[in-house]
Symmetry: C2
């Protein structure tokens, strides 16, 4: 199966599982469940759950065993977008080409919707079967770390504090590591854990995830400068407009493109211990780099 078919296939499987694992739209109170589903089914790329599933396969596991972990990661990712879009945060009206949660349901409901998605992400971890090395305790610790105050939330804090200030490249890298790379890395690790992966495999995936996450964020920054709003599905040039530090802003477009390629090479090198079994993860990394930036 070529990589595009693989991604289409896994994305559909993730969507079906999310539909099954989220509270029904008609359960009371309906407004919150509608808002949760509106936000989750808003045309996301499902990058995090798909790499979670691919990591499970790379470690000899199955999609079935990894699916609850994959969905938990996507719910957590979606909550962070819903809160990040709020007027008191990034104040975004568009996300993935559609009005953001608070534009449709109001600010109060968007706060609660994010809270509910975060809570349900953790609830979903309780669905994962234990194996010899890992149980719910390990899944919970992993996701709470990636989503916690020193990683995902910490990155948003640094982002919030950095707006309008001049950041160094080092500070910007720290924000990207915390905001993006940490959750990508945990997506991989959670998938691997459902496959009973050795600690050495987890360490290799951690290296892969951190490099891939940084590459992904550098590319996003480049796209924000070079693409139109229509293509992005969100307001283009927004980072510049709010004087937010970006890679291209700090080091220029050419150097940013070189950095994205360098990081992807590092990511691919980290996959060497997986040999042939790392093929899908390699393809995904290549696919992300081939986005036209």
């Amino acid at each position: 199966m070529d990589i595009r078919s693989y991604l289409t296939d896994k994305t559909a499987a993730v969507d079906a599982a999310l539909d099954r694992l989220l509270p029904p739209a008609k359960s009371a109170p309906r407004a919150i469940h509608e808002a949760m589903r509106y936000s989750v089914f808003a045309g996301g790329k499902r990058l995090r759950p798909v790499i979670c599933l691919a990591a499970a396969e790379a470690c000899g596991g199955t999609t079935a065993a990894a699916m609850a972990a994959a969905c938990a990661v996507e719910m957590l990712h979606t909550y962070s977008l819903v809160h990040d879009d709020l007027p008191c945060m990034d104040d975004d009206d568009l996300r993935r080409g559609r009005p953001t949660c608070h534009k449709v349901y109001g600010e109060g409901m968007a706060v609660l919707c994010g809270d509910a998605l975060l809570t349900h992400a953790f609830a979903t971890l309780a669905q994962i079967q234990s194996n010899k090395r890992y149980g719910v305790r390990e899944y919970l610790a992993e996701l709470a770390f990636a989503g916690g105050s020193t990683r995902l939330i910490g990155g948003q804090v640094m982002d919030l504090q950095g707006e309008g200030n001049t950041l160094t490249k080092r500070e910007l890298v720290r924000i990207h590591q915390a905001k993006t790379a940490a959750l990508l890395t945990s997506s991989l690790r959670l998938g691997a854990m459902t496959a009973n992966a050795t600690p050495a495999k987890l360490a290799a995936l951690t290296k892969f995830g951190l490099a891939l996450g940084l590459a992904f964020q550098v590319i996003d920054d480049i796209l924000d400068v070079t693409q139109t709003t229509e293509v992005l599905g969100k307001t283009a040039g927004k980072d510049q407009a709010v004087a937010k530090a970006t890679y291209p802003g700090l080091v220029g477009l050419d150097a940013s493109r070189r950095e994205a390629r360098r990081l992807t090479r590092n990511a691919l090198a980290a996959l060497e211990p997986f040999r042939a079994k790392g093929a899908r993860l390699r393809e995904i990394a290549g696919y992300l780099l081939m986005r036209e930036y």
Copy 2:
């Protein structure tokens, strides 16, 4: 030990454990960790963690085994207050006599602070030791249910939607059950689970918690009408000012007082299976009812 000494003693132990279990104030990014600690150490009554510990004792367990569960519940409770106080929600400037989180740290940081407390509440569950009947899977499912979109968050949704509308007594009871009684009940159940309690004991505590939670909320409603801002530590008469439905508003003050006493009697009856071991829980219920309303 009399009930006041018991409460003082347990509250101090909970405060010390919270200090140990929360991220250090000086860990980066400092702003979020300061905001988390500002909100948690704001003079709360620690009712939920204390009844968690008391439930563990009533089931033959120890404070030490129940402490992480008790702290997780308090972190989750605090997150819900921080988000509830936001301008787009209840818009409160004062909480427990001090400026609310967003008044001190700004709205964006208050959203993130709540998110971080919620995430850390779940992270803290991973610290609980397993016993014969219960492990992290059960603790996680319990807390996520009580804090989820059909209970705690669902109650806030109903609250948000109910403002300015005329609610029936039945609708108001549903909001109180979801917003207050569910988390009190889970506090008791989590404590009992750390003591390896039988399902019958959990069922009895569930009855106790639901009745106690409703009694507690009815009393809070009464106090909002009858007490001054100074005594309450929050803006008095606020519920009336925003036309929020309250027990006294629907059935009058006298009927509300009778209802509070009736619910407390039901709560006490639910404790009969615990015989002498239920003494502390009985005292706590009595203590809550003896608040001057």
